[in-house]
Amino acid sequence: MIAAKAQRLVVLDANKCVGCQLCMLACSSRLTHVGPAKSHLLIRSAGGIERGFVVVVCRACQDPPCARVCPTGALSPLPKGGVRLSSSKCIGCKNCVDACDIGAVLWDEELEKPLICIQCGYCVDFCPYGVLGVEAL
């Protein structure tokens, strides 16, 4: 289920996030496995839930640092921004995780591979409060 057009996820208003993680569950159920840890985005508290939430999504960088540090070329930048993971090339070194300053390269602990968002926008429809959106690149 690869996004047909060039687009990226955007956080419209993190203040409206209630921390339900329906987006994370949706992301994981897009494939055949469910579980927040299989999600390509992360909702965590901003230092205690009384302070609200941090909505961590890949912002489809133009010149993505994660791809630049990949020693095996498993991450390929796309023309308009964002990256694709070629899983068979990935050796699980986690360089990409360290390279992403916003922490948007999440880790699949079961497969020992990064979870790279493909910007499909499936999660957007599951947010009850309009926190997430997509925009064209």
Binding site: V18, G19, C20, Q21, L22, L25, S28, S29, T32, H33, V34, G35, P36, A37, K38, L42, I43, R44, S45, G47, G48, I49, E50, G52, E109, E110, F126, P128, Y129
Partner: protein
């Protein structure tokens, strides 16, 4: 892998030996689904007859179910333990991130037994447990600080639960709670004291795994249908004003317990209502997997007295039961005052309902001269929230014999100092805030956990009142209560939030289960509910609980409800009928 296999791992932790192991308990999860169904069985295996609730022989069972974290509103962890308040098997549910974390740690249940000789906290990641020294955390004044320290010290942000006790649990206040994710609780029946007795300060669970869904298309379809209902009228009340929406309607009905149940109407109801609190609403929160966001936080902005250019803003969670227990039932109508009392119980880690009812009894006992200011240290007067605030801290600090006794619950306090006729409790558990009529009070006497949530019988009373219908005979009332309580055992085994009870009718439940590979029809589910109902009650009977011995607080009979006066005869007949029925069924 079948879903049953997927969810049936039980993690056992022995705090005495500092050991842990995992067993696959497909035997239990295939027969009893999960949640309360499984937890009761684990309790039966682990807790010997005659166990001291605060001794190492008591065990803490936490269980989730087949729908946990994969269906909307399947957001409860069920805890079962022997209650230090009632002396029998107890049950308390909590949401937050706990269910998802336990489930995706790959576990269906956690059993914690034994006791540590020194304070520890546990970090569970997958099937591995680390025992950590809690010497630094022990004695911290605020349970919120404990949460912050652990949050910063440990990995797994967003995928973990941080359960902890406050000082109340450490000091074995019998109605101490366990706080999770700052604003959710295993609130009732004293799980916090059981943690404290085991020198267990906190339990952190990190869940990083996933599960393959057997029938992904059916799953997505069932999920979408249930999500739509969960976002609609079925949960509107919780979604908008939250449970605080109950204050005004219950007051209008004359069912809002006020000043230790002396009245069902509170002249200050307006100022502790959901509508009024909307002015201070600062944030709404959800448990993982729930679109409703029923958790409402109010912000209090406060100027420092000595530094007028310093302000602090604090967030306080509010819910109906807290507004009753620390508001109307103490005559507190100051909006900020009631929020500050909630803040105190949050910091100390104790159940707001039990604490509020204990203070209401103390206020009346003081008024009537059964006790003096020597006992209470502060002058307790209806509405004086500053005095109540100090008194709540004294329950934890226990500076004299009186507060040592008050920390044991209202039953103990009244048996020592008198005033049993206005000590509100059923089998030792202080009641939630509904003086709706005879079915509610009967349900507290005969419910598995003596809780308003056993059968939601306040709703039955309200229905009768609004339809101006005849109150059923006590025997019929017992049947209605038992039937609702039985169905709720299914929901509590799945384990879905009871706020989703209108979302999860038998049809929705079967459909959800089918997508996970279960072949359970509606009839089988109903039968299962009845079996679990019977199991719960039979365990209590085997522990020596006698329904006939439940005392009816005379105050309940003296204050009219929307359905008129509740009579002792009605309740006694109901209790008698329940006792006979349950004993017969149990044989």
């Amino acid at each position: 892998m079948s879903w049953v296999k997927e969810i049936s791992k039980v993690l056992y932790v022995d705090l005495s030996k500092k050991t842990f192991w995992v067993e696959s308990r497909e035997d239990l999860f295939s027969k009893w689904l999960g949640g309360i169904g499984v937890a009761v069985q684990l309790y039966k295996e682990e807790v010997p007859k005659g166990a001291d609730p605060l001794g190492p022989e008591n065990a803490i069972v936490l269980a989730v179910g087949p729908l946990t974290a994969v269906f909307p509103m399947a957001s409860k962890t069920i805890s079962v333990f022997k209650s230090p308040l009632t002396g029998t098997m107890a049950e308390s549910h909590a949401g937050g991130r706990a269910p998802a974390a336990i489930r995706f740690a790959g576990l269906g249940a956690i059993v914690i037994k034994g006791a540590s000789e020194r304070p520890v906290y546990l970090v569970v990641e997958g099937e591995r447990v680390r025992f950590r020294d809690a010497g630094t955390l022990w004695g911290m004044r605020s349970a919120e600080t404990v949460g912050r320290v652990l949050r910063e010290a440990l990995p797994g942000a967003g995928l973990r639960t941080i359960m902890r006790i406050g000082r109340a649990g450490e000091r074995l206040v019998r109605y101490a709670n366990v706080i999770i994710e700052t604003y959710r609780h295993f609130g009732r029946m004293g799980l916090g004291a059981v943690f404290g007795s085991k020198k267990l300060k906190a339990l952190v669970v990190i869940g990083r795994r996933s599960s393959k869904v057997p029938k992904i298309r059916e799953y997505r379809e069932a999920y979408a249908e249930i999500l739509e209902v969960a976002r609609g009228a079925a949960t509107k009340k919780y979604h908008e004003l939250g449970t605080a929406a109950n204050v005004l309607p219950l007051n209008k009905l004359g069912a809002l317990p006020t000043r230790n149940f002396l009245s069902g109407r509170f002249e200050g109801a307006e100022s502790i209502s959901g509508e009024r609190l909307l002015e201070s609403l600062s944030r709404r929160l959800s448990c993982v997997g729930c679109p409703v966001a029923c958790i409402h936080l109010a912000a209090i902005r406060e100027q420092y007295e000595d530094e007028k250019y310093f302000y602090k803003v604090e967030n306080v969670p509010y819910d109906y039961e807290l507004l009753y227990a620390l508001g109307s039932n103490l005559g507190v109508s100051d909006t900020v005052g009631v929020l500050k009392l909630i803040k105190v119980v949050e910091e100390e880690g104790m159940d707001a309902i039990s604490a509020g009812v204990a203070l209401a009894w103390a206020t009346e006992a003081l008024e009537r001269g059964l006790i003096t200011k020597e006992h209470t240290i502060v002058e307790l007067k209806w509405g004086d929230w500053q005095a109540y605030s100090k008194s709540l801290h004294y329950i934890v600090e226990q500076p004299n014999d009186f507060y040592k006794v008050l920390a044991l619950g209202v039953r103990e306090a009244a048996s020592r100092y008198g005033g049993e006729e206005f000590a509100l409790h059923y089998n030792g558990l202080e009641p939630a805030g509904y003086h709706t009529g005879p079915l509610y009070h009967l349900s507290l006497a005969i419910g598995g956990r003596h809780s308003h949530l056993d059968a939601g019988a306040y709703g039955m009373d309200e229905g009768l009142a609004s339809a101006k219908a005849r109150v059923p005979e006590p025997e019929e009332a017992v049947r209605l209560i038992a039937s609702e309580e039985s169905w709720r055992q299914v929901l509590n085994s799945l384990a879905v939030c009871l706020f989703g009870r209108r979302v999860y009718g038998p049809g929705a439940v079967t459909k959800a289960l089918r997508s996970l590979g279960y072949e359970l029809g509606e009839k089988e589910l109903e039968e299962l509910g009845k079996s679990i109902y019977l199991e719960r009650h039979t365990v209590k009977l085997s522990e020596g609980f006698r329904p006939e011995d439940v005392k009816i607080p005379r105050r309940v009979l003296e204050t009219p409800t929307p359905l008129g006066f509740v009579t002792e005869e009605y309740l006694r007949r109901g209790i008698q009928h329940f006792a006979e029925t349950i004993r017969k069924q149990g044989r």
